[in-house]
Symmetry: C2
Subunit: 285 residues, 2 copies
Amino acid sequence: MTPPAETAATAYTGHVDYVHGYSAHETRRLGDQADTLAELLHADTAYPAGSRVLEAGCGVGAQTVHLIGASPGAHFTAVDISATSLARARARVTAEFPAARVTWHQADLFELPFKDAEFDHVFVCFVLEHLVAPGEALMALRRVLRPGGTLTVIEGDHGSAFFHPDSAYAHAAIDCQVRLQHTAGGNALVGRQLHPLLSAAGYERIAVRPRPVYADRSHPALVDGFTRNTFIAMIESVREDAQSAGLMSPADWDRGLADLHRTADDDGTFHYTFFKAVAVNPRPS
Amino acid sequence: MTPPAETAATAYTGHVDYVHGYSAHETRRLGDQADTLAELLHADTAYPAGSRVLEAGCGVGAQTVHLIGASPGAHFTAVDISATSLARARARVTAEFPAARVTWHQADLFELPFKDAEFDHVFVCFVLEHLVAPGEALMALRRVLRPGGTLTVIEGDHGSAFFHPDSAYAHAAIDCQVRLQHTAGGNALVGRQLHPLLSAAGYERIAVRPRPVYADRSHPALVDGFTRNTFIAMIESVREDAQSAGLMSPADWDRGLADLHRTADDDGTFHYTFFKAVAVNPRPS
């Protein structure tokens, strides 16, 4: 669920080590995930021609291409803290949309190199979950958003996962990921908190909507693209860290993962909830 | 989530004691719940004029009035195992829709007094969760459904509940309800199982869709009508049974309920998922 935001935790306030690591495999996983989920998450996001849009934390560009595809006339500014991710995002966007108007900046969310109110809209997806101080990030983004402009936030929530057959071992394996992300300073349960976070950060007209992903055998592409290759792959990616931290015995872990795979069988089902919020930066009263 | 289906468990195969009991308060709670959720659950269900529709397990008529309101020209047959519930349903429907064409039958789902293929459509809502043998019930319903006719099923899933602030005590209190319902022979997690149950019962063209309920301070009617007066009220209603069964200490229970109420505060959020399935009785090949 979690696009890269490569960092040394010590160098940037409020930022944390990316829990999933960096690799070509990881980049591919994030690309698959974005394509499977693009319709669900992005279909209702489109910005007017000429509007100035900031994507904060663009990672490898997995969401950026969908943003640009839906809003060909908008002027995008894409920011990420990782030069490596930014280069990948730029290569991908340039390949898919050679004519797109995108400006690229390597920068910290908390020290954005932009003037106050420089953007009409801000978009942030799978970023807050990695931050120690998501509320402060939302305030930093509000500074560069013009009054009356919108912020769009998309986040997952790993506590929303449930499935058939149910399994305490599978839930425990998911909980390892949640605990590792917490230890790293992030929050894998941030989806459910978007409304209070946005409210505390001073936004108004906050509309949060759940975006459920439900996969059964009648949706084989979703079983493969989401249950197996996105969600289970993400849990599998923390196996070593979970073992090193002593969070779960190898035998219990293996059973948990086997039980997760079981939910992708023909008589299994899998359910997960993303949250999408749109909020407005208030005009001065 | 659970409309009454009054019964003596010994008298009817596959049927169980209604976990929430019977009272005027309970009837009111179920009415409130149905009104709050009617749009979410029923908006896309309408039957053609003249079609013969069976509602199996109508309870006190909480869903019946919405069915009839959306399909004024259909011929309804409403069945419940409880004479008391049936009388309440009949009174309610007669008061709201004096001209509605409804036939009322007190009967067991597993011994329906109807010919094979007597109905064009069957509707069942918040019933499977109370049955020891939901799969057999779906087969019994398929017998009275004409080939090519549709079955619509709506069920909740208490394992889908998550909220902010998160609380292990609140989850444990919810789990008491799940365990009591399991002990009574029911299944509070049946929503996630609709696809495999329908498939095993011989239905085809099965389409299961999650219907999430998400409440935050921007939806005060939902916070009140769903989080407080439906979900938390339902959990509170099993307090005595949970204590008698020794499932949770009184202090832990009270903390769990306080934590649940906390999610209905201004900075709380609450999320729950219903499932709605539509499936077809195959034509002989």
